[in-house]
Amino acid sequence: MVYLTRKIEFSASHLYHNPALSAEENKRIFGKCNNPHGHGHNYTLEVTVAGEPDPVTGMVLDLKQLKEILEREITQRMDHRFLNYEVPELQGQIPTCENIARVIWNLLEPKIIQGRLHKVRLYETPDLFAECYRNGAGCA
């Protein structure tokens, strides 16, 4: 098995607010991230695909295809957007790194038909990231 990783970046704004909680609870749980006008990050996304290299092309999948999938599914949807208001898949969810990573997994998994999606790692800052992978597949 060979693991191939491609990285993209996008910039987006968000805020953390749960309407089911009081203003005080929102402030206590989410702190600065609860600022009503939002704030932004430069996100870095690493997408890892696992597979056997094709004996003819030597590729797990064509990077050009992966690039197009990431452009269409992620960049066009999330880059320079306000995640709370402009990304339908995040409606009704707090757009934490965990939830965005899971949305990205769900968007990409059915689109990757050559090889299989192995891991999604989303950095919100260089020191904070969330990742999604099939249970037990975390170390590769």
Binding site: Y16, F30, E98, D127, C132, G138
Partner: protein, 148 residues
């Protein structure tokens, strides 16, 4: 977990510490040969980077596996206070009689952080320099009790 999917949160922390690699089980010559410059009797230091990941259910009310403030304060108390600006050999009890290689530092940090009550520790990665990294994800389940 949902549908067999693990969601994990990763966080990077930094500490600066000194150490000396020297094994009491080896002769002076052997120590010198094995550890080279790292055997310098007065020690030397590194800026360590520790990357940890923890997994668990994402709370629908908060969108979080764990609130970062809880994770940060636990790591501050259990790891950074003990390691930052310390001599690993002299100031950290675990390294009395154990060589503070970054392999051993990685396992010791895992042993401390596995006690975090609010999420499951998946993995500890310690970067001694930007060119050296060590990772530890615990042993098989039957051995996990022994490290706690």
């Amino acid at each position: 977990m949902n549908n067999g999917l693990t969601v994990a949160l990763g966080r990077r922390y930094r500490f600066a510490a000194s150490h000396r690699l020297h094994s009491e089980k080896l002769s002076e010559e052997e120590n010198n040969r094995v550890y080279g410059k790292c055997n310098n009797p007065y020690g030397h230091g590194h800026n360590y980077v520790v990357e940890i990941s923890v997994s668990g259910g994402v709370d629908p009310a908060t969108g979080m596996i764990v609130n970062l403030t809880d994770l940060d304060s636990f790591v501050e108390r259990e790891m950074l206070e003990a390691f930052d600006h310390k001599s690993l050999n002299e100031d950290v009890g675990a390294f009395r009689g154990k060589v503070p290689t970054t392999e051993n530092v990685c396992v010791e940090i895992y042993r401390r952080l596995i006690r975090f009550p609010l999420a499951k520790l998946e993995r500890v990665r310690v970067e001694e320099t930007s060119n050296n990294a060590f990772e530890y994800a615990g042993e098989e389940i039957q051995d996990r009790a022994a490290i706690r």
